[in-house]
């Protein structure tokens, strides 16, 4: 499930600075909201698991 950060004060489904899930945006044209600068997709952080040579 994608998440989006609210970038503008005009977005009615969340306050500026909040992160909203795509489920909340059902019925919204997410592409248009991103293009207009109201939302920005939050990229998922990939946790790195480092395996040392000794552990192998």
């Amino acid at each position: 499930m994608a998440s989006y950060k609210v970038l503008s004060n005009r977005f009615s489904l969340g306050k500026k600075g909040e992160t909203v899930d795509s489920a909340l945006l059902d019925g919204c044209n997410i592409g248009a909201l991103v293009e207009a600068g109201h939302l920005a997709e939050v990229s998922a952080k990939v946790s790195k698991t480092v395996t040392s040579e000794q552990e192998k």
Partner: protein, 134 residues
């Protein structure tokens, strides 16, 4: 119940509040009439499909997240519209009218005579209107 003068209408287009860029709004809720007149009777009709139309006048603004940036990507798509008589919470005296699947076919990015305020008139057609009072 008191009369109401529209001073603080709430207008949400595709999840974006644009009331402070608008000076006119009209929501037309219509259910088409389908004639079921039979021989031996008079004209008679039953309700058919919803045929809603909404017109919103917006002051043009080319800044980020304002009128142009919000409306331009919506042309040719279906959007959800939410209208209220005032910006207060939804209630019996301040119902909300939500139209899902309203289609925007055109937008006029530049339209005004010399010396006039640049406006765009948007007409949304179709969709399903639901009224809520709570």
């Amino acid at each position: 119940m008191a009369q109401i003068v529209l001073k603080d209408a709430s207008i949400s287009i595709g999840g974006v509040e644009l009331a402070d860029r608008s000076n006119s709004v009209e929501v037309n809720y219509e259910i088409e009439s389908v004639e079921v007149t039979a021989f031996g009777g008079n004209r008679s009709f039953v309700g058919g499909l919803q045929n809603n139309t909404c017109t919103v006048e917006l002051m043009q603004d080319f800044a980020a997240t304002e009128t142009e940036a919000t409306i331009f990507p919506l042309v040719g798509t279906q959007v959800t519209l939410v209208f209220k008589p005032t910006s207060d919470a939804v209630g019996a005296d301040n119902p909300s009218y939500t139209i899902s699947g309203a289609y925007l076919s055109s937008h006029t990015p530049i339209a005004a005579a010399v010396g006039e305020l640049a406006m765009t008139s948007l007409t949304f057609t179709g969709g399903t209107l639901v009224k809520a009072t709570s």
